[in-house]
């Protein structure tokens, strides 16, 4: 099919799709006035019943925690898929770790990059840990803090050699961290089941509103999710850099 024919076919289909959108959106109430009784009810009970001040984190990890379990395993499975796809090569890597993405413009990194990363890495790690632990109080949570934590080894990769990056984030430790984070979520749910409640029911003491230990199981789940997301993103980074050397192939 020629390009012009493909474009004309697309324009016709896009017009039909636009008509479908128009029909659908004209039936909806205008934005800003959509009634939501479930949301209002959740807002009313979130502080008195669960002692959590961030309603979105409460919905994510406490009220609808089972859906977030599925979401974390989507991330886990996708990282597994990326690792499997990138790992396939005909001959194993021998010898020292090589950097396969070496087309960066700065082979020995300039001093400005190194100074900036020395200053930024501790701030990034601190901010990531703050974001993970304060998930139930302020906007934030496990996922956001986990991704922020994963950018700290990335800064080390940008400013140093690949060997240094590999020393900070070796493959075994990163894979173990990711699996441990994912297992923590299931373990907490199973522990609630074993203690007589239902899966992922909030059985721990709820604590004082506004303190770091409020919310029952939510801080623990936040830590597990933060660990898993951080490990997953660093693992995907390592996979793209083609640095999955199996120990027995050396």
């Amino acid at each position: 099919m020629t390009k012009a024919a493909r474009k004309i076919l697309f324009l016709i289909s896009a017009l039909l799709l636009a008509c479908v959108f128009w029909l659908g959106y004209s039936q909806m109430p205008p934005a800003g006035f959509v009634p939501s009784t479930y949301g209002d009810r959740v807002n009313q009970i979130v502080v008195p019943q669960r002692h959590i001040t961030d309603a979105v984190t409460a919905v994510n990890f406490d009220i609808r925690g089972f859906d977030t379990l599925g979401e974390e395993f989507i991330l886990f499975t996708s990282v597994m898929g990326v690792v499997l796809l990138m790992r396939w090569r005909k001959e194993p890597i021998r010898g020292d770790h090589e950097d396969k993405a070496e087309d960066r413009r700065v082979p020995p990194p300039s001093d400005a990059v190194r100074v900036a990363s020395v200053l930024l890495v501790p701030a990034t790690v601190l901010f990531g840990v703050y974001m993970v632990t304060h998930g139930q109080l302020t906007p934030g949570g496990g996922f956001q803090g986990g991704v922020i934590l994963a950018t700290a080894p990335l800064l080390l990769y940008l400013a140093g050699t690949f060997g240094q990056f590999h020393q900070v984030a070796p493959l075994r430790m990163v894979a173990f961290a990711e699996a441990a984070g994912a297992a923590t979520y299931i373990f907490i749910g199973g522990a609630c089941l074993a203690l007589g409640g239902s899966f992922l029911q909030n059985l721990l003491p709820l604590g004082q509103i506004g303190s770091l230990t409020s919310g029952g199981i939510v801080p623990l789940i936040d830590l597990g999710v933060g660990l898993e997301v951080c490990g997953g993103i660093v693992l995907a980074l390592l996979a793209f850099l083609e640095e999955l050397v199996e120990e027995k192939e050396e």
């Binding site: 934005a31 939501s36 959740v42 979130v46 001040t53 859906d67 996708s78 109080l137 996979a239």
Partner: protein, 114 residues
């Protein structure tokens, strides 16, 4: 004017689809799939928003004041995680396709051989 978020969402969907159809580079195609996904964020955001109400974080406002819908925002968080997932897998697939065929142009890829 209150229907503008819906219009922006439909526009993003259609322009992303146009990018997918007329793409000449597989990585460009993956990014246009990301634009299509962002249209669903705008739609969910518009559904959850209530005019004049603050964010559902009760640390500095009195608990019990009417706020914006938090359930739809939780759905949006899941949506963003799904975007990372899909983009990572699509990019990995694009790199592997390039490894086999030496080109990233979808028009020049050979048909799937049995």
């Amino acid at each position: 004017m209150n229907f503008l978020p819906y219009l922006v969402s439909a526009w993003l969907f259609l322009i992303g689809l146009y990018g997918v159809v007329t793409s000449r580079n597989l990585v460009h195609l993956c990014i246009c799939v990301g634009v299509i996904q962002s249209s669903s964020y705008v739609l969910l955001l518009a559904i959850g928003y209530r005019i004049g109400r603050p964010a559902p974080i009760f640390i500095d406002i009195k608990p019990g004041t009417p706020a914006v819908d938090p359930v739809v925002q939780a759905l949006m968080l899941t949506d963003i995680v799904v975007e990372v997932t899909v983009m990572a897998l699509l990019l990995a697939l694009a790199v592997q396709i390039h490894k086999r065929n030496g080109t990233l142009d979808p028009n020049q890829l050979h048909a799937i051989k049995g």
